[in-house]
Amino acid sequence: MQRRHFLALTGAAFALPALPLHAATSPSDTLLTWYKLVLELVRHTATYSPPVAARAFGYLGLATYEALASGTGATSLAGQINGLTALPARPDGVYDDSLVLHAVMSETAQTFFGNTGPTGQRAMAAMRDKLGAKLHEGVAEDVAARSAAFGLSVAQHIEAYSKNDGGADVENMGFPRDWPPPTGPEYWMPTSTIVQQQAPLLPAWGENRPFAMPVGAPCTAGDPPIYSEEPGSEFYKQAMEVYDTSKALTDEQKAIARFWSDDPMLSPTPPGHWISITLQILHRDGTDALRAADALARVGMAVNDGFIACWVDKFHFNRIRPLTYIRRVIDKTWEALLITPPFPEYPSGHSTQSGAAAVVLTAVFGENFAFDDATHADDGIKPRHFADFNAAAAEAAMSRLYGGIHFRAANENGLRQGAEVGSFINALKTLV
């Protein structure tokens, strides 16, 4: 059943301050309003490093897509993605899709962000109660009850599916309590003085079950340049490129580095940045809820699988960061523009997942799809315009060199790795 009343959105960009509650009455508004909260929860939940965030986006998207697909004849992803069994069918009767989505998001948000702090808990409860009450207005009791029950059943199915993927339990914010470092000049070393970060983040994340990428056969970025401290070597050249670039950064390059910095706990993280881009487009274009859920599910699964593939390579190659190499070989006083992430360098996680997201979004929205990205407007960072998704992904990859946290090979090979990951997502059948 379609809702009888569709209240107009404010027209504000999605990244701008909260949409008023009255806006969230259509299914698509309900979906987008919940996702806006999810982006905040990602930012404000301590375990939500980029790989963990990507995983949540994958399952949230999957749950909302499946909940809507069951009522429209769209193709379920059960049987297409790794390990997902058939979802509950909709019992006969009339449904309110806004209330279905509200039930799905209320449940899955609590599942994936149950460990957030008191403010996040308060926000989830307020969203559940206030938005739920608003959505309930004018809807028959039996329809409301049936919709809520069905949404809950789908959410619980997805929750059960998520439990054994290898990423459900994250302790100590993802940092092992003990980490015997391998010996050798090419290997990653801690770059931070934070005690937790003396061990790398989530070393076993590459063992997680992906959604669409084949289990046990992750896409690879290929070999990095051979480690060398010889001035004529490729590795040295790439390090010098990072160093020289850092010494002559233009304001535009600094802006690019900071725009894609996407630091955990200070932003929605890199996967959240791509979800934010998707949300802004969905909001701008008034996309219907099913197509919106499909796009969000695809992007979510793509960034999740991208991080899994990337993390396999990161801990296979276990490569040194520019900060360590440059201080050791070139300039012991060197400082990178950005905070160096606490895990191995190759390939670049942002690049891999950006490559995956760009390929998927291009398939969803088309080639040459221009957009403005105001993800960080609330943080005072100006929106940027992109001619298409690949241009955005390429800029995201290059930003890591400007920021001094990755060598060129990690960015370029990461993008290619991500594109390969995205092709598995693009092969999934949904709206047909």
């Binding site: 301590a46 926000a123 937790q196």
Partner: protein, 523 residues
């Protein structure tokens, strides 16, 4: 400098001679004995989400008996004043006393003699309207917002600092405000403005908003570069700001406040800033700053000490090499990251090296952070590093601690400890160390205005360096100390002391005997 007669002079402790001749290679671990049940201190910082921060305690002498009394915030419970009846060298004994400060919705309280009548006044930080409470003497207070032109506003006030700007007869107060509590679904990014209450003659002018504000949880006026003009350091909670960072403000007399910028050398730092403590740990004349956070605390020192010219506000974090990071519980079976609140440097074993106490406690029930999070007592070693001794010293309490204060409550030359816990009774410990070294307690006083000489520096000459303390109002977690500053002297039975007064006047070095409290009066 006029040194008045000792307030209290005690005989050296019995074991002193044994420790003085052969200082231990490792810090002497002090012994604290909890006295909560018998002390008369009975307060619970209560309340739900709106009181997840705060819970401050302050020490000051409200009845001019040279003993430090306590004001403890209660959240949804009324604030309480506890008058100190401890006998010198005796058990800790306080009496809850009706004072006029029994307000609810109080997150913290800071004592300061606003009107320079030598009677401490109190600033109450509240969920709602802040209040300035004029001290009437004998531990009685009355609201003075209207009389002093103080606009208490309506906000979630969680931080405070004060200074006397040059040429002023009335203090400048800084109030740090937190989240807009009305925003339930999207509270992030809703930080409300901090306020600077500057003087207008002998009252306050309308407050100046300090824009931008980033959800302050601690503020401190401190002369970080020894320029003679304190700046305002603010610890901000990154959980709620957007586009924010830690802050350092120029507060120059007669000028609008401006932020220190990256062009001046300020380096962006984004943490869950919660509490600030300062001390010149490395005896270079410039204070270090310890800033509490979650899973990571910062010990900041100037990156470069110029041989000439002004220091740049560029700080480096030395918490890790100094072993002062205190990022997770050191005892118990909960190994999740810690949550730090109040921090304070005091020499708890009188070895002449400042030690560091950190109050710890989960925000509420965040499972990714330690739920059993012991308070820290980090003892400074002779090489400038720290070692944890909270459990050995007997202060490794596991409550949801917030505010705290270290001060000598029973005039025995040993710094005691009081800690405020969320939803649980406050706790108090007597320092019962048997083999402490020599000490001094020094109280500064000058004629009005600024009778407590806020902004002065007190120096004590040691054999190979000078101990220095800045007299401040602010910092910590919603509370602080107004009264004597404590110095451990190690083996010194006497020491030279001097004061650099707030106006820059440099007193002469004068020798005083150890193990006594002195009042130092500006000539």
């Amino acid at each position: 400098m006029k040194i008045l007669a000792p307030i209290l002079a005690l005989l050296p402790l019995a074991a002193h001679s044994e420790t003085a001749s052969q200082p231990p290679p490792a810090p002497l671990v002090p012994s604290f004995t909890e006295a909560t049940a018998t002390s008369g201190v009975n307060q619970i910082y209560a309340g739900d989400w709106e009181y997840m921060v705060g819970g401050g305690v302050s020490t000051f002498d409200c009845n001019a008996d040279a003993r430090l009394d306590l004001i403890i915030a209660g959240g949804t419970n009324p604030a309480k004043l506890f008058v100190n009846n401890s006998a010198p060298g005796g058990d800790l004994a306080f009496v809850e006393t009706q004072s006029g400060l029994e307000q609810t919705a109080v997150l913290g309280a800071y004592p300061i003699d606003i009107d320079s009548d030598t009677i401490p006044d109190i600033v109450l930080l509240r969920q709602g309207e802040n209040e300035v409470m004029r001290g009437l003497g004998n531990c009685k207070f009355e609201r003075a917002n209207e009389a002093w032109g103080f606009d208490g506003g309506k906000a979630w006030s969680a931080a405070f600092a004060a200074t006397w700007e040059k040429g002023q007869s009335w203090p400048t107060l800084a109030v740090g405000n937190y989240i807009d509590a009305t925003q339930d679904m999207f509270p992030w990014g809703s930080c409300t403005d901090n306020w600077l209450h500057r003087p207008d003659g002998l009252k306050f002018a309308a407050p100046t908003p300090l824009k931008p504000s980033f959800c302050a949880l601690s503020m401190l006026f401190s002369d970080w570069n020894r320029s003679g003009t304190p700046s305002l350091r603010i610890a901000n909670d990154r959980e709620y700001y957007k586009g924010g960072q830690e802050q350092l403000w120029h507060i120059d007399p007669g000028k609008e406040p401006t932020l220190y910028t990256d062009k001046e050398g300020w380096k962006r730092l984004r943490i869950w800033g919660m509490g600030i403590a300062s001390y010149d740990l490395n005896f270079d004349g410039f204070p270090e700053y310890f800033v509490t956070s979650m899973a990571d605390n910062k010990l900041q020192t100037l990156a470069e000490i110029p041989t000439d010219g002004a220091a740049k506000p560029t700080f480096k974090d030395v918490a890790f090499p100094k072993h002062a990071i205190a990022q997770r519980p050191y005892t118990g079976d909960d190994l999740n990251p810690s949550t730090g609140w109040h921090a304070q440097f005091e020499d708890v074993n009188n070895d002449g090296l400042a030690d560091l106490f950190i109050a710890k406690g989960n925000v509420d029930a965040m499972p990714d952070f330690a739920l059993k999070d012991p308070n820290n007592l980090l003892l400074q070693r002779t090489d400038g590093t720290f070692e944890e001794a909270g459990d050995r010293a007997g202060v490794a309490a596991m409550g949801l601690s917030r505010g705290a204060a270290l001060a000598d409550f029973n005039a025995d030359g040993l710094v005691d400890l009081v800690v405020v816990n969320r939803r649980e009774p406050a706790q108090i410990w007597r320092n019962t160390t048997k083999s402490a070294s020599h000490w001094l307690d020094l109280t500064l006083t000058q004629t009005a205005p600024n009778t407590d000489a806020i902004g002065a520096w007190v120096e004590v000459k040691m054999p190979d360096h000078i101990q220095r303390r800045e007299i401040t109002v602010g910092g910590g977690q919603a509370g602080g100390n107004l009264g004597p500053v404590h110095f451990g002297l190690g083996t010194l039975a006497q020491a030279e002391v001097r004061v650099i007064w707030p106006d820059g006047t440099q007193g002469a070095w004068e020798m005083v005997k150890a193990d006594a409290s002195y009042r130092l009066e500006k000539p």
